[in-house]
């Protein structure tokens, strides 16, 4: 031994068993932070890939630049590549058709393939004005190949003939719109645009080099070319995954993630801190002895820190190792449960950010956590070692009351209550866990309302009557339901802009018909009144709107064109899958009521849900049955993405709740272990004067129970109002659903506290049972 600090490593080896809990706390904290940051890293990587696939790899788009300016722009050093882009018939209202189907026509430069992340199945980019690329669905449906000729008919009947030079992979946007996609070079595109006679400002999509400060570069480009801010748009999702977005929603989301990570780090610091406190309490005499031998306070602090950092040498790599393993498991789980969305998640990805954050937070937590115990250790009087009374009177000023039955119970309660500071700290940490859990439990309710992917009514395929007319009869639905792979078919009729009078005020309404399936799903959202009246055709359901609250019992005067008809609002729904124009009330009624009101019998929309047996043949059969006049919207890819996003949020929200629960468990175990350790000598003395093990056990349980009871009272007292306030702002304001007592969440966290308590008491009780009375009295270490 050449330096007194070497005592730290010698001590760590000898006291391996005693330090296990602290090392475990550090491992847990590192693992926690590593997993949160690592998963966030993996998720961002996946989102980045997804954003590139969905919206392309461009970062910023500038409107209103001419070709000459674009050439200058392309020469800027921070730009990797850029492309012009324009589109015709985007809203499918210009009637460019190929073989009777609406076609979307886009023009771009060859560099656009990279800018938009367009993947080609086969062929090459169309270099000549008479050449085009087509999408894979079009190739399949029209039986085309590279080299085929296609005829595009314009709105005025003009025909354009093109040769196919390449086939593109299908995109979610084209699938959902259910249209053909044609891509040509800018020259070819401008030829059509010229015939349209419409002058439009062209768009330049820019992809910047990695590590470039995109926002700064954008500002510089705007200054250079005098482009106003409103003519600039960004690929916000991609920019967000690069940390370069200034979109307030994304910034809030990132802020929330950062806040949660900080919370996890704080929880880690608290955990390590309380564990280290326990270590100092156990070693009071040792530090007193060091002080006796002439160790300065600074030296004792250094020794404690050195020992703490020594634990890091084992705990940090272990935490990182476990964290990496858990990340791999979670990634595998997500890939398995949702291959479409998470299929791009790295298999055995190494998250350097996660590792760095885990290690940094671990070491920083230990150093921060070691500060207070180190100071406490340094303040231990040398007398504590020489007197042998380090633990004997602990500042007790009041005798234990015997109002709670037997003496051991009274003593246990007294142990919990005797020191005000200790009692407040311990119960506060119990209460903190409960408050945290109840606060975050509201995110589950928010998630249930905000994520459409969760909703049971979401269709895979929608058939929409051309021009939004009601043109599909009920028989079509029945025929479709018999197709192999179809799970459910349900239709709706819509009547828009219907004049209504509510409480003497005139307005307009959108009336929608529901059948049994849809009424069944809507039951979940009923916040007022009942369903039966609406199902039976004697009333209507209104959808809650914060700006125009319609209440149950309100009477509506509906003008159907054939005179007014009165209906009572029999119930109010918090939400429905449809949006209405500003100020328009959404009213839901039965099919018979709708037919009686409007005279319409055909559906505007038929929604279809598919089962696992569904294939592309199923879609082809549906398309064939529906006919050319009905537009087919394939939402499967979008649904998969929404589901993926939902899974991410679920993993995140429930993962965080699990983390809070785990922190509670460790906290409770640590606090009780610490309290028992500090009293070992006293317990030894009690055993010596005849206290039985069972009595000892009761005493420890009474102490732990007192902390838990008060923690629960304070936790519920503060946590429930917090839960209610958060619920109001996150759910009630948006969807009108009133707060209900969070029985399930409360039960979960209270059970967690109770189970942790039982686990926490188990180990110390075993320790007390095994202790040698004589040794415990003589020596506490």
């Amino acid at each position: 031994m050449k330096n007194y600090l070497e005592l730290a490593s010698i001590s760590a080896k000898v006291r391996k068993d005693q330090n296990r809990m602290t090392v475990f706390c550090i491992i847990f904290s590192v693992f926690l932070v590593m997993t949160i940051f690592g998963m966030a890293d993996m998720e961002i990587r996946t989102m980045r890939k997804q954003a590139k696939e969905d919206y392309g790899e461009w970062h910023i788009a500038f409107r209103g630049m001419d070709d000459e300016q674009m050439e200058i722009l392309a020469g800027r050093p921070e730009i990797e590549t850029c492309s012009r882009y324009d589109v015709l018939n985007y809203r499918l209202d210009m009637h460019y058709r190929i073989e009777g189907e609406e076609a979307l026509i886009a023009g771009l430069d060859r560099t656009g393939l990279d800018v938009f992340g367009v993947r080609m199945q086969e062929g090459v980019f169309p270099e000549e004005p008479g050449e085009v690329m087509i999408d894979a669905d079009m190739k399949k449906r029209l039986g085309l190949t590279v080299g085929s000729r296609i005829v595009l008919s314009g709105p005025d009947g003009t025909e354009f003939v093109y040769q196919v030079t390449g086939i593109l992979e299908q995109t979610p946007m084209l699938a959902e719109k259910g249209v053909f996609g044609l891509i040509m070079n800018m020259e070819g595109f401008r030829n059509i645009r010229a015939k349209e006679g419409e002058e439009r400002e062209s768009l330049i999509y820019v992809k910047f080099l990695p590590w470039c400060n995109i926002r700064k570069a954008e500002e510089s480009i705007r200054d250079q070319f005098g482009i106003p801010e409103d003519k600039v748009s960004g690929n916000e999702l991609l920019l967000a995954t690069m940390g370069q977005s200034d979109d307030p929603t994304i910034l809030i989301l990132y802020g929330a993630a950062l806040f949660l990570s900080i919370l996890a780090a704080v929880a880690g610091v608290l955990m390590i801190s309380s564990s280290m406190n326990s270590y100092v309490v156990r070693r009071t005499e040792f530090f007193g002895l060091l002080s006796c031998l002439g160790a300065e306070r600074k030296q004792i602090s250094r020794l404690v820190r050195k020992e703490a950092l020594g634990w890091c040498r084992i705990a940090v790599p272990a935490g990182i190792g476990i964290g990496t393993g858990i990340i791999w498991l979670l990634c595998a789980f997500l890939r398995l449960t949702n291959p479409e969305y998470f299929g791009k998640m790295p298999g055995f990805g190494i998250s350097w950010i996660g590792m760095a954050c885990g290690a940094a937070v671990g070491v920083a937590s230990v150093l921060m956590a070691a500060r207070a115990p180190a100071k406490r250790a340094a303040k231990v009087s040398p007398l504590e070692a020489v007197s042998g009374n380090a633990h004997s009177n602990m500042g007790v000023r009041k005798a234990a009351g015997k109002g709670f039955g037997r003496i051991e119970t009274a003593l246990g309660i007294h142990h919990a209550l005797y020191s005000g500071k200790n009692f407040i700290l311990t119960t506060s940490s119990f209460a903190f866990s409960i408050i945290l859990f109840l606060a975050f439990a509201t995110t589950v309710d928010f998630m249930g309302h905000a994520l459409n992917g969760l909703q049971p009514y979401t269709p895979d395929i929608s058939l929409i009557g051309q021009e939004g007319d009601s043109s599909m009869d009920g028989e079509l639905g029945e025929r479709i339901s018999k197709i192999e792979g179809v799970k459910r078919v349900y239709g709706r009729m819509f009547a828009y802009d219907v004049p209504v009078e509510i409480r003497g005020e005139k307005g307009s309404a959108c009336i929608i018909s529901y059948e049994d399936y849809q009424f069944g799903w809507a039951k979940e959202d009923l916040v007022e009144g009942s369903f039966e009246e609406a199902v039976n055709g004697r009333g209507m359901l209104a959808v809650f709107r914060p700006d125009q609250p319609v209440r149950e019992g309100d009477v509506l005067q509906i003008d159907t064109g054939n005179g007014g008809e009165e209906f009572a609002i029999s119930g109010v729904l918090s939400q429905c899958p449809f949006n209405s124009a500003d100020g328009e009330v959404i009213l839901i009624c039965s099919e018979s009521t709708f037919q009686g009101l409007t005279g319409e019998e055909d559906y505007t929309i038929i929604d279809i849900q598919l089962n696992r047996r569904a294939s592309n043949t199923t879609i082809d059969e549906i398309r064939a049955l529906a006919g050319d006049d009905v537009h087919l919207s394939d939402r499967r890819m979008k649904n998969r993405q929404a589901k993926g996003a939902m899974y991410s949020v679920i993993v995140f929200v429930y993962g965080f709740l699990a983390v809070i629960a785990l922190i509670t468990v460790f906290h409770v175990i640590n606090i009780i272990a610490m309290s028992v350790s500090a009293r070992m000598r006293q317990y030894g003395a009690m055993r010596a004067v005849g206290m039985e093990c069972a009595q000892m056990e009761k005493m420890i349980v009474a102490e732990a129970g007192t902390y838990a009871l008060w923690g629960m009272i304070i936790g519920c007292g503060a946590g429930l109002p917090v839960n209610r306030i958060l619920y109001y702002y996150m759910v009630t304001v948006r969807w009108g659903e009133e707060w209900t007592f969070p029985t399930a969440s409360l039960a979960v966290i209270l059970i967690v506290v109770a189970v942790s308590l039982a686990a926490a008491v188990h180990h110390p009780v075993r320790r007390v049972r095994r202790m040698s009375v004589v040794e415990t009295i003589i020596r506490t270490e």
Partner: protein, 245 residues
């Protein structure tokens, strides 16, 4: 040469009705190389006196000079460093660091002072203490007497001007007690160290240069062993009473 000078030392615990005067105006002087014993009944204030002299406890009034330095005029840090370099402690319960072996325990105060242990000095102490063949043993592998010898080695390594021993033989059998006492006397003579020791065992007092008796916080200098002889019966009786309790 004066090594220890205690002037009007008082220590009061508690307040009001609970006030206890543990030490009352204690004054005495010890010269270099002197070996003195403090005797007295349990609760008489012996340990309080030793703790105050060693700077472990703070007196309510009075001054303590060690080698001319006023202990309680120093701030906490300086007092700690002064204590480390000038005062060695020996306790009844040995208080060795469990995870360090004999040699490491002995050299530990030197390391705290940032000094490198001199090999010859360590060897000499181990030889004197009869622990040369036990140097790599942990405290748990030693007998009580050997542990106390190691604790004495730890007190001697810094060559302090003053050694304070609180019943160093209290936990030892008679043979080990004799060993330890011989060692302390030898150290006192060989290194000219001043030793102040609390003891209940009047058989040990015969080796001392002086004996102080503390009764209810009041110190009386009994001079040499023969001066203390008149009180030996009552002291031994007190010791017997303690053993019975």
């Amino acid at each position: 040469m004066k090594i220890l000078e205690v002037q009007n030392l008082s220590k009061i615990y508690g307040k009001g009705e609970n006030q206890i005067n543990a030490l009352k105006n204690v004054s005495f002087v010890m010269e270099k190389g002197e070996f003195a014993a403090i005797v007295g009944e349990s609760g008489s204030g012996k340990s309080t006196l030793l703790n105050c002299v060693g700077g472990l406890d703070t007196p309510t009034a009075g001054r303590v000079f060690v080698d001319g330095e006023d202990l309680f005029q120093l701030d906490e840090r300086k007092r700690t460093i002064f204590r480390r370099r000038n005062i060695g402690f020996i306790f009844q319960e040995f208080h060795l660091i469990e995870e360090l072996n004999v040699e490491q325990n002995i050299t530990f105060p030197l390391l705290l002072d940032g000094r490198k242990p001199e090999k010859e000095r360590v060897e000499e102490i181990l030889e004197v203490l009869g622990l040369a063949d036990r140097r790599k043993h942990l405290p748990s592998q030693l007998s009580g007497g050997q542990q106390q010898r190691a604790a004495i080695g730890r007190a001697l390594i810094m060559q302090p001007t003053l050694i304070l021993a609180d019943e160093p033989t209290g936990n030892l059998d008679s043979a080990s007690s004799r060993d330890v006492m011989e060692l302390l006397v030898r150290a006192s003579r060989r290194y000219q160290q001043t030793i102040l020791m609390i003891t209940h065992n009047m058989n040990l007092v015969s080796d001392m240069d002086r004996v102080f008796r503390v009764t209810d916080g009041v110190l009386k200098d009994m001079g040499g062993y023969f001066g203390a002889d008149n009180h030996s019966d009552s002291l031994e009786r007190g010791n017997e009473d303690e053993k019975l309790s």
